[in-house]
């Protein structure tokens, strides 16, 4: 079903319950997306204040995760949803897990940003951080957008983006290793950059997971752990 018809239930309460988990999820997504944007900016601008803000938001995300989880449990227990309703509850329940993890990765980046800001400026690795950061931010944004609009094509694009992020990440790591060879004094610093890149790459993976949940939600097809090509074929079949 391309259109989920969330407002078509005979029970109005059920309509509301499902609409609520969906909008709460998108709200949580918005908070996490901001965390990612702020974490990358904190790193690029050596802005420890912004980084502290990201860390402070972590609690908010955790609370949101728990409350949405509780709502999902209530729907499962009270409504015994089936078909697309069941898939919605399951997709929300899994997506909040990915969002929470993205929040954790953003917090890690914020911590590296604080450490790096204390060490003073050094432009090495920033181009890679900026590039991959922009890519994963877009992925996350598009994945949430796909969820909001139940858009399978958009979700497929996110899966494709993850593939290129993985490639960019591998290239960036090779670059960082080269820098470390050239300048062993920078190793500590470069390690922080590498950890930050690693966190960004993980955010990309979680973005892909969310996109996969959108495909499951709309099409009822499990597209986890298969190649991009297979995802595309399965989701469109």
């Amino acid at each position: 079903m391309d259109n989920m018809n969330l407002d078509q239930h005979i029970s109005q309460r059920f309509n509301q319950d499902l609409e609520e988990i969906r909008s709460d999820l998108l709200e949580m997504g918005g908070i996490v997306e901001n965390q990612v944007v702020d974490a990358i900016a904190a790193l690029m601008d050596a802005d420890s204040e912004k980084a502290s803000k990201v860390l402070k938001t972590e609690d908010k995300v955790d609370i949101k995760e728990k409350s949405i989880d509780e709502e999902c449990t209530q729907i499962l227990a009270r409504r015994q949803p089936a078909a697309s309703d069941l898939r919605l509850v399951l997709a929300v329940s899994k997506t909040i897990l990915d969002l929470e993890r993205i929040g954790d990765e953003a917090a890690k980046i914020a911590r590296y940003a604080i450490e790096l800001s204390e060490e003073g400026e050094s432009p090495r690795g920033y181009i890679e951080i900026r590039h991959i950061g922009n890519c994963v931010h877009k992925m996350l944004h598009d994945a949430l957008d796909a969820f909001a609009r139940f858009d399978v094509e958009q979700a497929i694009k996110v899966v494709k983006q993850d593939k290129s992020v993985d490639q960019d990440y591998a290239t960036a790591i090779r670059e960082m290793i080269t820098y470390m060879f050239e300048d062993p004094h920078s190793i500590t610093r470069m390690m922080n950059i590498i950890w930050a890149l690693r966190a960004l790459e993980r955010i990309g993976d979680h973005g892909r997971n969310i996109a996969e949940q959108v495909i499951y939600l709309v099409k009822g097809k499990d597209v986890r752990h298969i190649s991009y090509k297979e995802v595309k074929e399965k989701a469109r079949s």
């Binding site: 005979i10 029970s11 949803p81 089936a82 078909a83 069941l86 097809k221």
Partner: protein, 297 residues
Amino acid sequence: MSLTDTADASTGLAFGDEPSTVQENSSMDVSTSDIPETAVGQPLVSDPKMTMRNVDVFYGEKQAIFKVNLDIARNEVIAMIGPSGCGKSTFLRCLNRMNDTIVDCRVGGQIELDENSIFDAKLDVVSLRARVGMVFQKPNPFPKSIYENVAYGPKIHGLASGRTELDEIVETSLQKAGLWDEVKDRLQEPGTGLSGGQQQRLCIARAIAVSPEVILMDEPCSALDPIATAKIEELIAELSENFTIAIVTHSMQQAARVSDRTAYFHLGYLVEVNDTETVFTNPSHRLTEAYITGRFG
């Protein structure tokens, strides 16, 4: 008169209900344009126990079932679901010619049991109903002892050569129905003195005492509490090892729990048949989806 005939006649069950619900539907202004000509999913299987081809059912002028094509696989549990008046009970009753007992009811098309037509003139309808037994919505034990309730069928069908053998059939049937331990010390007490759940299991014991091949169940748990329901559902799973079971149910959770395949009926049409797993997670047809998720169809 067969065992099942007697059972139904004794309570005057269900027969009156279905035509009236169909009548109800005729006044509803519901479009049939969304209904597929042939059921989506997998209505046909290889090596079926029963096959139905182009089955139509009429109550007088009113058509209640339209061109249904469906196979029932050996030893499967198939659940028929759908809104009231969709024809699922009518369809179920075609399978052992229970509709013959309704004046004005006409069944068209072909229905086969093990590749033999059940409408064959040479076929004895009483033996058909012994092969295709039925359990009804409301438990309807005979006003006789527990023992006699189970022994009656084997006696009239001449399945036991003597008392010992009859005792054995009664005991095994009650055991298979999961009732033996609860009633073994009071077999001579009236069947009607048992609790609702026990009565329904007694009816199941009565149905299986004549060694049927197919058991039809028409909302067997709708008059039972959740514990009794759970026992019957557990029993259905056990029975499916030896019997083929077709069950009509209003409880979608029940269909999801007990069946291997699920068939969705809508306004007399078979809309979708699929593995139960698929029907409840990713149904193919919009009407099935609307029904099982409680949406306006």
